[in-house]
Symmetry: C2
Subunit: 193 residues, 2 copies
């Protein structure tokens, strides 16, 4: 394996382990075991677990940015783009039920650890918040676009949290429908409810 290919494999393995087990629980040894490299090779790329975390956050940002660009290219209508965001709860339902929202659970864990990379992880939320805000601006909600974006992000987080605890697919579908309905109400009334 070439060096940058190895680095990439470490980041992808760490991304998955941090998501599925939590950052604190997943160890250097766990990650090295998945990638099947020696500790020496690992240390060549990353000196500390915090270095790995920084690379994982950067990787997640890149992936999310690519996803948002893809939605923009697929859909001219900002309302449909917002529906793509809401639909993450259905598309990723199995993983969310097992491990929660990857962004929300990482931010929550880093807050408790009072970790230096808290602001970087929060940047993942900010990416979605600002993108949603842009869509609401395009829909003519300039004055309230930021509040509407945060409201939708809040609902998405709440659904992910309870889906993780209760594993209830009916609850997820019901709340996704309610979010679509809420969005339609915004489009027709220009008032948040």
């Amino acid at each position: 394996m070439k060096a940058d290919e190895t680095r990439r494999k470490i980041v992808i393995a760490a991304d998955q382990l941090f998501y599925e087990q939590g950052f604190e629980k997943a160890s250097f040894a766990d990650i090295a075991r998945v990638v099947e490299i020696s500790r020496g090779n690992f240390y060549y790329h990353f000196k500390t677990k915090d270095d790995v975390l920084a690379a994982v956050i950067e990787h997640r940002l890149d992936e999310r940015k690519a996803m948002l660009r893809h939605w923009e290219q697929q859909e001219d209508n900002p309302a449909n783009r917002i529906k793509s965001f809401i639909n993450i709860l259905i598309a990723n339902q199995t993983k969310i039920m097992a491990f929660g929202c990857p962004v929300g659970t990482l931010c929550s864990e880093l807050a408790k650890l009072d970790h230096a990379l808290k602001p970087e992880a929060a940047g993942l939320f900010t990416l979605f918040a600002e993108w949603l805000e842009e869509q609401f601006v395009e829909l003519g909600h300039s004055g309230q676009a930021s509040d509407l974006a945060m409201h939708l992000l809040m609902r998405s987080q709440g659904v992910a949290s309870l889906a993780n605890t209760f594993q209830d697919g009916d609850f997820v579908r019901r709340e996704v429908e309610a979010m679509y309905q809420w969005l339609d109400n915004q489009l027709s009334t220009h008032r948040p409810n």
Copy 2:
């Protein structure tokens, strides 16, 4: 210190450490240091950290049940009781901003650890869900009481999650107002939105 007094102090210290640092991070040694007891005295009460966790969950359940009973005694009107629930986000805002929701973050962490006490921790959510459901039944929403309860619990979780990440008091106040408004809409229309 008498034995049961020591046990109680251990549980209260562990409750706080599990909340503020996370269950995985907080160690036996950390808890013993707070309570100022020897490891030997600690082991007399609890053999494993999982035993401590079981006692912490039981303690949290007792505390929440006492709080719900208190709200019931203070308020005859189920709508005002529900408002007491919503108002947790304001009353505990400082702690929620620092460490998230104690119930949601514990359930999320135990899901990632695939911990045997996941169902016990989920019981904390169930306690609130069933209590809220009872209030909606009293308000005449028998058919949808369970869905309305889960919707409100979802919003409370979502607000706690983003409050923890963004530390934005305006966002919390705005969403609490929106939850009051949502509740008023339920009371007047008998339809969820």
